[in-house]
């Protein structure tokens, strides 16, 4: 079964420092991977995705993520954190080779709360 793990409930980082939010996945085939961000009282907002090609994916607001097939990881990174980056971050995976009821689900991790301190 496909699954996503976000091993850290919370990540604390000082403004201006680099940040990493970790994500590992388990799928039977080649994964499609996504990162979403959720601000308080708002829905999830798409940040970036990996489908195929270059392992380093660039997304919105200066975020990027690196797909590592051997480590089954898709960590989210940013070179210099901002206080406004403080939010809840979700990693999600979809296995395009796995059919469930005809279409494949997007499976979300439990989320990691990022706190950027001034």
């Amino acid at each position: 079964a496909q699954s996503v793990a976000q091993p850290e409930d919370q990540v604390n980082v000082a403004e201006g420092n680099p940040l990493t939010v970790k994500c590992t996945y388990s799928v039977s085939g080649n994964p499609y991977l996504f990162w979403y961000v959720q601000y308080p009282n708002r829905g999830l907002q798409f940040l970036l995705k990996y489908i195929t090609g270059d392992n380093l994916v660039k997304g919105s607001y200066g975020f990027e993520a690196e797909f590592n097939k051997s480590q089954t990881s898709f960590h989210l990174k940013k070179p210099s954190a901002l206080v406004s980056d403080s939010a809840l971050y979700f990693c999600a995976v979809r296995d395009p080779a796995r059919i469930s009821g005809g279409y494949n689900k997007l499976i979300f991790g439990a989320g990691t709360r990022l706190a950027v301190h001034p």
Binding site: F34, L44, P96, N104, K105
Partner: protein, 115 residues
């Protein structure tokens, strides 16, 4: 373009009452999703529509939850009767098609509290 619209934003009911949520997806998006997000967890898919047809409702508690998308545009999700464990944020999302690589666009959600 306008985003996914949901209403109401907040709802408080007592257990055994019924409640309905409404969603209007982004114009032109054929695929619509309803998720349940319990506090401290990631969103869990309840039901997925392609136009006005259901393509995945395997995680929908069908004894109490129902959803429809009659004209292939907006959708309603109903809970009847509600239980305490239904307290959660209900998120609606849409995407252009059900292709695996398409990202989903989410509405602001409806926060349901069951007392």
């Amino acid at each position: 373009e306008a985003g996914v619209a949901q209403s109401p934003r907040y709802k408080i009911i007592e257990k055994r009452q019924s409640v309905a949520f409404w969603c209007n997806p982004i114009s032109g998006h054929a695929t619509l999703y309803w998720y349940q997000q319990i506090l401290g967890q990631g969103p869990k898919l309840l039901i997925q529509f392609q136009n006005n047809g259901v393509v995945d409702d395997s995680q929908l508690p069908k004894d109490r939850f129902s959803a429809e998308r009659l004209k292939g545009v907006d959708s309603t999700l109903k809970i009847q009767p509600a239980k305490l464990e239904d307290s959660a944020v209900y998120l609606c999302a849409s995407s252009r098609a059900v292709l695996a690589g398409n990202e989903q666009f989410f509405g602001p959600g409806t926060r349901l509290t069951v007392l």
